[in-house]
């Protein structure tokens, strides 16, 4: 029996490796102080009991007295999160590091070590929670009770928990930030429509999608909207706008956000959202809905118990309008806000037709001029990795970047609301899981029934039952979606008193957004500012871009053949 031909350093690799080794070169900050004697013996590295590393001469026995001169304390090589993000070598493990660095224990540690408000180094702890996270909590609480709990009630209970138990000074939901994001996003769309940028515009709020596009499809980056996500707009609002009204610098605020998605942690740690002047991030720490729920459990807080005044309509003293509804999708209504804006901007009435492509995760929305029948706008919502692939293919092909010549399937979209999760943000990876069958026995102990000799029916025994689809529980996602729209029928059928209330809330949000714009961008022509879209002078416009938009960069694989351990 012969061995197969010698392994070659070509591209064969049926041998796998869990992850690539880190290839970041160690930076030598301090030049070696002493020149080595020619031919000096090699040294070895030892670790003392405190975990410090020492380089020790291995030239032989050294008298005790001179130990200090032969031992040199070594600087620990440090790999920052940005190093990892910039390198795709072991990106998966780097990302998991990023994710674990922003944990609920991190939040608790901060709160514990935060000096009292009287101290100069005190930071104001602020928490912002996404409406999808509120919906997840509401659905979870409602599923265990006879009556549905509203997002408003959940927000009050979360506020009570975070202020009374954890010590946060302010708790907001992120819907006002989303309101601004939608305004800016619409502004950007019309800029592109005028020819200042590429179409179709692709949504930018999903960090999973951004991360994937940067790594795997850099040709998509020019199409992705540059408008910041609601989380990062919230970061700007809290650290820059609210901070200045409180008389606090950005680094005197500790901003935590609660999100339905783990990838929001990656988003918050992007270099673009780091303030060099104050050495602080717009969002200091991101935790998921599940981590918030875990904190509540650890602190013995029962979210199903009502708190005082939880049915009060609105906090008058809140800095922002609360729980603004943006009709459309539970992932942020980016597409629907554009449809509304295009309809409003059109001199002629428009008709909207909606076509479902295979599943509700891929829907096409077409606006036609009612009089001429002319196509005015074509958009799509496209959720889940599979649909995302097709968008990438189609956009790529239309832009003439795809190999191959198939001309069929021109989609001609103006806009695509892309989200990486099937079902959208309500089904985010950080959301609460549906209640599962209890694994505990009556006394609350986890038991493995099989190990105790108890015969359980084999679930695969019944030929009819098969494992369900992988992506979460569709039924549960529907429940969360229902909880999300709790206070509002969607899409609104006809103006009802509630809708009018929503409209007036939206108007007050528009007014506040304008104030934020004026306060932060300092346009010269303040009197001429009637809404978010009002044109400003060049300096103010560039400030607007800095504050409400961001950028993307392709992450190229730096892993070259020879550095790869197969």
């Amino acid at each position: 029996m012969a061995f197969s031909g010698a392994l070659t350093l070509t591209d064969l690799n049926d041998f796998i490796t869990p992850s690539q080794a880190c290839i970041k070169p160690v930076e030598q900050l301090n030049p070696p102080e002493e020149l080595k004697e020619p031919g000096a013996a090699s040294t070895e590295i030892v670790i003392d009991s405190s975990g410090s590393y020492y380089e020790v001469s291995a030239s032989g026995p050294v008298p005790n007295a001179s130990t200090k001169t032969t031992e040199k304390k070594l600087q620990q090589a440090q790999i920052s999160l940005n190093d990892c993000l910039a390198c795709s070598g072991c990106i998966t493990s780097a990302e998991s590091v990023l994710i674990t660095l922003q944990s609920h224990t991190e939040v608790l540690n901060f709160l514990e070590s935060n000096p009292p408000p009287t101290s100069l180094s005190h930071k104001v702890p602020v928490l912002s929670i996404a409406p999808q996270s509120i919906a997840s909590l509401a659905a979870s609480v409602s599923s265990g009770s006879s009556s549905a709990v509203s997002p408003g009630q959940i927000l009050r209970r979360v506020q009570a928990f975070c202020t009374q138990i954890l010590g946060f000074e302010h708790v907001y939901d992120t819907t006002f930030a989303r309101h601004i994001a939608l305004l800016e996003h619409t502004q950007e769309f019309f800029e592109r429509k005028r020819g200042e940028g590429k179409l179709p515009m692709l949504a930018s709020a999903c960090p999973g999608w951004i991360c994937y596009a940067e790594k795997a499809h850099s040709e998509m980056l020019p199409f992705i909207a540059r408008t910041k996500s609601p989380q990062q707009v919230m970061g700007t609002l809290v650290k820059s706008w609210l901070g200045s009204t409180w008389g606090q610098q950005p680094d005197q605020i500790y901003h935590v956000s609660v999100m339905p998605c783990y990838d929001k942690k990656l988003e918050a740690s992007r270099q673009d959202f780091y303030n060099d002047v104050y050495a602080t991030r717009d969002v200091d720490c991101v935790i998921t809905t599940g981590e918030l729920e875990l904190m509540m459990r650890e602190k013995g807080w029962d979210l199903s118990v009502p708190v005082n005044d939880e049915d009060a309509p609105c906090h008058n003293h809140s800095a922002f309008p609360e729980l603004l509804a943006h009709p459309g999708t539970s992932s942020g209504s980016y597409l629907h806000s554009l449809i509304a804006a295009v309809t409003q901007a059109s001199p002629d009435p428009l008709d909207l037709t909606v076509k479902t492509v295979r599943t509700s995760d891929y829907e096409e929305y077409i606006l036609r001029n009612r009089i001429t029948g002319e196509l005015v706008f074509k958009g799509a919502k496209c959720y889940g990795f599979r649909n995302l692939q097709n968008v990438v293919r189609k956009v790529g092909r239309e832009a003439g970047m795809q190999v191959g010549r198939g001309a069929a399937g021109r989609m001609g979209y103006d806009y695509v609301e892309v989200m990486a999760c099937p079902g959208g943000c309500v089904n985010g990876g950080g959301q609460l899981k549906p209640a599962v069958r209890k694994k505990e026995d009556e006394e609350g102990y986890t038991r493995s029934w099989e190990d105790s000799g108890v015969q359980l029916p084999d679930p695969s025994e019944d030929a009819g039952t098969i494992q369900g689809p992988k992506w979460g529980n569709k039924e549960w996602t529907k429940e969360v979606d229902k909880a999300y729209w709790h206070d509002l029928p969607t899409p609104p059928a006809s103006p009802t008193p509630e809708i009018q209330a929503v409209t007036s809330l939206a108007e007050s949000a528009d007014r506040l957004a304008l104030r934020v714009k004026v306060d932060l961008c300092h346009p010269k022509n303040v009197a001429g500012q009637s809404d978010w879209a009002s044109a400003m002078d060049q300096g103010a416009e560039s400030r607007r871009r800095d504050l409400f938009r961001t950028q993307y960069r392709a992450v190229e694989s730096e892993v070259v053949g020879l550095a790869v351990k197969w």
Partner: protein, 352 residues
């Protein structure tokens, strides 16, 4: 050494030409065409015609695929008109013939109609469904992708299945239904179907192999699935209910990883489930005749009989792939691809 086996493997031809190891061969299901792929990034096409009671193979075309790395896998569509290539450059290429129809093969040119991007790392296997409307691919990135074939070489991604925890080595479609099987370095086999209102999903995981599952082969009628492994066994899984498979037989007969298996109709009549051929790192080819137990028998065990065997099929080299010719009248024809870069064609003939 091979005592009293009823058949033997007769070398029909030894096709040289690849500059590096040959990874896989694929018989065109309609025309007399054999394709092979290699680490040299090319695909070679051979025509075969009867000649003096034997077959004459002639090299008619080479496709310099343009893949930037090894072409690891090949698959013909059931119509025989389209060829898919899976490469270590992570892409899947779709090839069609331009011009040169009506048998004038030499004038034909093969063009890349589209490139399916999506895998993050090496694509290991590609396969067309029996209807030709679906294409599956798998990769070291642990995923299995299902593409729908549209007119004009357009493809739509129907599913990205992230079920395996390791490198996926092989994908194989059921011979008549839309059931997809995948085999992995995680030692398992996964079976998938489409939920028309949802996405593709894994409905069953077959466990039992103690090491990497390298290859899969459905029985010609689809009631059995064979799997070959680094644990030196071939397992045959029987369909006992619509969505349930159970291990019905284990075959041993190799001393190294069994890289490839192929299950053809064979030439021993209707009572047989067909001929199962296997090969691998030990350079040996085994051919088994597989039969269902007679109705009267109480045992559930399939009967199996080794009918032919051959050592050192590619001299000292590993054999990477084995495949029965699917065309009628050629059920006794086998092709193999080896690390020596050669493609060999064998005929199973009664021994004397």
């Amino acid at each position: 050494m091979d005592v009293d086996l009823p058949y033997e493997l007769q070398l029909v031809t030894d096709l040289r030409g690849h500059e590096e190891r040959a990874w896989q061969i694929a018989w065109n299901p309609v025309e007399p065409l054999l394709a092979s792929c290699s680490a040299d990034k090319s695909v070679r096409l051979y025509n075969y015609q009867p000649s003096n009671e034997s077959l004459k193979f002639s090299h008619i075309h080479s496709i310099p695929t343009g893949h930037t790395k090894t072409v690891r896998s090949l698959a013909w569509s059931p119509s025989g008109k389209t060829l898919a290539t899976g490469s270590f450059d992570s892409n899947v290429g779709i090839w069609e013939r331009e011009g040169g129809h009506d048998g004038d093969e030499e004038a034909a040119d093969w063009e890349c109609m589209t490139l399916l991007e999506g895998h993050e790392t090496e694509c290991k296997s590609v396969a067309y469904s029996s209807s030709g409307t679906l294409l599956a691919s798998c990769s070291r990135d642990k995923t299995v992708w299902v593409w729908e074939v549209h007119p004009d070489s357009d493809f739509e991604c129907m599913g990205v299945l992230m079920e395996h925890t390791q490198d996926v080595k092989c994908v194989a479609w059921h011979p008549s239904e839309e059931i997809l099987a995948s085999a992995s370095y995680d030692d398992t086999i996964k079976l998938y179907i489409d939920d028309p209102s949802e996405d593709w999903f894994c409905f069953s995981t077959l466990t039992g192999h103690k090491s990497t599952v390298w290859a899969l082969a459905w029985s010609p009628k689809g009631s059995y699935l064979a799997s070959s492994s680094d644990d030196l066994t071939i397992k045959i899984w029987k369909r006992v209910a619509e969505h349930k498979w159970e291990c019905a037989l284990e075959l041993k007969g190799h001393e190294r990883s069994i890289y490839s298996i192929s299950w053809g109709k064979g030439k021993t009549g209707e009572e047989s489930l067909g001929w199962l051929a296997s090969t691998g790192g030990d350079g040996k080819i085994n051919v088994w005749d597989i039969r269902e137990p007679p109705e009267s028998s109480t045992g559930r065990v399939l009967s199996h009989k080794l009918i032919a065997t051959l050592s050192s099929a590619h001299d000292v080299s590993d054999v990477n792939s084995i495949s029965w010719c699917p065309r009628e009248g050629f059920e006794d024809l086998l092709a193999t691809a080896g690390d020596d870069g050669s493609v060999r064609v064998w005929k199973v003939v009664p021994s004397h």
